[in-house]
Amino acid sequence: MTPVLEVRDLHKVFGDLTAVDGISFSVNEGEIYGFLGPNGAGKTTSISMICGLLPPTEGEVLVMGLSIAEDPRGVKRLLGVVPQEVAVYEELSARMNLEFWGGIYGLKGKALRERVNGLLAQVGLDDRAAEPVKNFSGGMKRRLNLAMGLVHDPQLILLDEPTVGIDPQARHKILDIVKQIAADGRTVLYTTHYLEEAEDLCDRLAIIDHGSILAEGTVAELKAKLGEGSLLTVQGGFKAPELAAAAGAVAGLQPVEIIDGRGMLVVGRDGPGVSNALSGLFQAGLAFDDITIKEPNLEDLFLNLTGRELRD
């Protein structure tokens, strides 16, 4: 089966800056594929190249086997794009916005009206549909922004951080809609810097930073990369080198990040076990104020891969 989206060795260079540095992946029909990365990772730049807004410096994008470079109109017909920044006509009502966007794709008459009504209900804007969008709250605008990318029922939907800056309730609504789209057999590329979203939503995901994919797979596969050990976080009045030395003395204890007063260490499965690791650290005579032990999540994986937190 041809993948719905196939990206091969995509590069984008802006002057001195390589924003996207050789990305390859493919997404199959009905899948939600996540792009997880911090600010400036190259998510939006990648999406822009996939939807034909930016020409790639190098590489290729195929949508259902069609190349965007060779057949832009054929590809764009299959795409629904939801940009990161809300892009709607503020003076028009939600309904007029959707009708215009449907008209752009050739929908008209009864088919257009029914589609618009269905979408308005789906994103929960049916009772405010006639109001100018400039009166809407941020979350309402985001929901309209999403609906506008769906109005022509595209095969492949590119969602660029559709939940940024909205309250948890509106966010759940959007996540539910995305799940529904995928359940209907549509394919979704979803970028985010929220781990919980990626974990909850995506069938597979890529962790991306500085324009490269650092790791790719299902959530379970990615977690397995950390090893099924435990994560030990200690805080106290010690200096970074003191903790590093103490950790180094315990076999199987991997430092992830160590700074003055705080350290994060992985106790590998084949290692000494949590209690042995801890007593090893105590023996080094370090004073700890706080110790937490937990199973690793994607946040920790990200930290492990990049050496920094996902959120600034």
């Binding site: 822009s48 034909g52 807004l53 764009k76 940009p83 809300v86 028009l92 215009f100 008209g103 752009i104």
Partner: protein, 399 residues
């Protein structure tokens, strides 16, 4: 083409959904047109007396007779004696030198001087000169028919004496109808230098076509560019060419709607003689509309370029105004170009407004048909092509 029209109509709906555009399109231009027509209503110096201050340093019977002639020759005369001359301001001043009467009677050459102040109106100055020559000719004619022979020049500087009967004969000759008169008229339905509503109505129409579109259009283009709807459009099946074509068509449509609004307003003002204003578009209404199409195209292209250049909507609003004002002033929308310095008249040819005014004056003021405005229409089309090309290169559609 259908797709381009779809975009253009959508944009036009958006344009009208903004209340300020509505105001700029319907209310403000009409008010301006009315205001300027009232201010410039005068109808020119042909029907009006021209102010003339006369310094009568002679105060003899001939200088007084000459002044009487000025008054009947459509001058509004104020007479001063020589002593008051230095302390009195004037627009135009004629000085009759001391000894005027005696010199004339003695057949000696006399010089009258006409001085114009910097603040005088050129049209009225021109009229003053023509009328002064007419008065001079009549006065000299009367003197010739009066037929007094020159006094004997060898006689010792005797003051010529004129008998009262002789004086009356001269005054009667002056009052009589002159034998030969020259009437002056202007060709065409208007005047060579359009004035009054004939200037302000086409002027305001030309100005507001560019103002409304440049300000409102550049502002909404900038907004779309920054707000992401333009690049969102580029993710659809619409090509860049179709998107820009849609924008151009929309801007051109707005310009034409603005033209229609002001054509209707001008017609209404003239029809009801509001504030006594005299105006008509003349018999070639259809030609005017057709003649304005290339101007609308030029305005649309210019606005696309502005929209591509501006970085913020504030820039679009303030610089849009500035561009509109400069174009209006340089194109002769506010005052007839003929009264501007030569350099400005030459520079005017580089502004589309100048050519639009040429179209309007050609058809409206001089009643020519479309054949006479072919050149301005071609020039405007070239402006449109150049602006649109530059605009398409400057406008960033995607991201």
């Amino acid at each position: 083409m259908r797709r381009i029209l779809h975009l253009a109509l959508h944009d036009s709906r958006l344009f009208l959904a903004r209340r300020e555009n509505f105001f700029f399109m319907f209310i403000m231009p009409t008010m301006f047109m009315l205001f300027f027509s009232v201010v410039l209503r005068g109808g020119g110096p042909t029907d009006v007396k021209v102010f003339l201050q006369v310094v009568d340093a002679d105060d003899g019977f001939l200088s007084r007779a000459f002044i009487d002639q000025l008054e009947t020759g459509q001058f509004e005369v104020t007479v001063l004696d020589a002593a008051a001359a230095d302390t009195t301001a004037y627009l135009r001043r004629l000085v009759i030198p001391a000894g005027f009467t005696d010199d004339v009677l003695a057949h000696r050459e006399v010089k009258l001087t006409l001085t114009k102040s910097a603040g005088s109106d050129l049209q009225y100055d021109a009229a003053a000169e023509v009328r002064l020559r007419q008065v001079q000719a009549r006065f000299l004619g009367a003197l010739v028919r009066w037929g007094r022979t020159a006094p004997d020049s060898s006689a010792p500087a005797a003051v010529p004496v004129v008998a009262p009967a002789d004086r009356d004969r001269l005054l009667a000759l002056l009052a009589a109808q002159p034998v030969v008169t020259v009437d002056q008229e202007f060709a065409g339905t208007g005047r060579p230098v359009p004035s009054g509503a004939g200037q302000s109505v086409p002027g305001m129409l030309t100005m507001f076509m560019v103002m409304t579109v440049a300000i409102g259009g550049a502002e909404s283009l900038t907004r779309e560019k920054l707000g992401g709807t333009l690049s969102r459009l580029a993710t659809t099946t619409f090509s860049r060419g179709e998107i820009l074509g849609g924008k151009l068509l929309h801007l051109g449509l707005v310009a034409m709607v603005q033209a229609m609004v002001l054509m209707a307003a001008g017609q209404a003002i003239g029809h009801w003689h509001l504030f006594g204003i005299d105006f008509s578009w003349g018999p070639h209404f259809g030609f005017i509309v057709l003649g304005l199409v290339p101007y609308a195209f030029a305005v649309a292209g210019l606005t696309l370029l502005l929209g591509g250049l501006f970085r913020t909507t504030q820039q679009a609003e303030s610089l849009g105004w500035l561009v509109g004002m400069v174009l209006a002033a340089m194109g002769g929308c506010w005052w007839p170009l003929e009264i501007m310095p030569h350099g400005a008249q030459v520079a005017a040819a580089f502004f589309p407004t100048y050519w639009a005014m040429k179209v309007l004056h050609g058809v409206v003021t001089f009643g020519h048909g479309l054949d006479a405005v072919g050149l301005p229409m071609i020039v405007l089309t070239i402006f449109g092509i150049v602006f649109a090309w530059l605009g398409a290169r400057t406008m960033k559609v995607s991201g």
